[in-house]
Symmetry: C2
Subunit: 210 residues, 2 copies
Amino acid sequence: MSKAAKTSERILRAAEKLFSEKGYEATSLREITQLAEVNLASVNYHFGSKKGLIQAVLERYQRVFMPALSAELKLLEATQNITTERILTCFIGPLAALEEVRQGGAEIYLKLLGYGYSEIQGHLRKFTMNRFGDVVQHAFRLFTLANPHFAAETLFWRLHFALGTVLFVQVSGKALNEIARADFSDPNPELFMTQRLLPYVAAGISAPEL
Amino acid sequence: MSKAAKTSERILRAAEKLFSEKGYEATSLREITQLAEVNLASVNYHFGSKKGLIQAVLERYQRVFMPALSAELKLLEATQNITTERILTCFIGPLAALEEVRQGGAEIYLKLLGYGYSEIQGHLRKFTMNRFGDVVQHAFRLFTLANPHFAAETLFWRLHFALGTVLFVQVSGKALNEIARADFSDPNPELFMTQRLLPYVAAGISAPEL
DNA sequence: CTTCGTTTAAAACAGGTGTTTAAATACACC
DNA sequence: GGTGTATTTAAACACCTGTTTTAAACGAAG
């Protein structure tokens, strides 16, 4: 079963696991090919370069997540009942849908994004905006509808703060969970998202302007 | 004037600049020694290893920031008027005080912390807690006083969310500012902290529990 | 001036990186 | 079944990494 998968698929699965655990630069092609039980050169054969592999790994998740998010946003917009919390909730379903590309897919995707933002500065952002800029802008438009009294600049920064909160927590999640587990009970990932992260982020975004 | 400084000082100044710009792993000792106009081997002579250099760079800032923060916290505790916003404001002055170790010191320090949390997982946290755990615990105690109705677990997570927000924004700040500058006016760093980040973070921390 | 511990200097070390090459194999199609 | 393309393989490539070595230069004390 494990040996049955085609080479490029085995590379992708090994790569997304290691990338999400240690980041892109800290993961070598030799680690990836070793875990995938595949020859080193096959990475460059199938994906051209390490950068190409990184993009391929990310794109697999984006192509599932972004359309699903887009659908949720359109659904919400039709209800005419747009609040910050409701917009944020639109992200939950599409994240959970990533389980279909792999077990733990939501967590992996967020970590890939997190490392992407701190390591390959700008590249990931441009890559995302080029391919899914319309979805991002749609979300932004809904946020302005939910907070019509905010200056565009305020909302711009707060949404990036929110992104930062989510990505940072995900990237340093292992270390955090080790500390938390010492004092508190083990958190269910999905509940963690809706019960812990979402209230914090929603309150931050909707905080009154000075 | 530039050539006058002693070797180890020149290494530290070059290292903290490059580390804060590109992260620890992405910065090589050869880049550092080249910028410092110093021989490569002198890093290992003065600091033992690259890890030793990283710790030395960080410690220089911690030794200024942490005592200043501790003083602010004690001052606040004496007032008997403890709110989330006031605790967060305690961080502003000590951050600004880092300008005395170097111009732009506050920004450098936060970036050093940010990269530390995503790269050298856990090490930085243990290092900080070992040396300044009392200050951290003091801050945590004040936050529980300001939010007495919260479960300890809730506050634990929200404070880490807040840390994540600040560090992520700082680390990806260059890219963010480039986007922001295209649409908005240039933000003053100190005002950015107090007028933009602090309201978001304070509202997130104090958000009502579900 | 000489001596001795500290500091700098150039070079080499051992190991790891992404990538490329060229030959061997697998596989589909006529 | 043989042919030709697609894929896999092992090896080498060129470069970069942190660290160590050995010798030279420095600077203060006797």
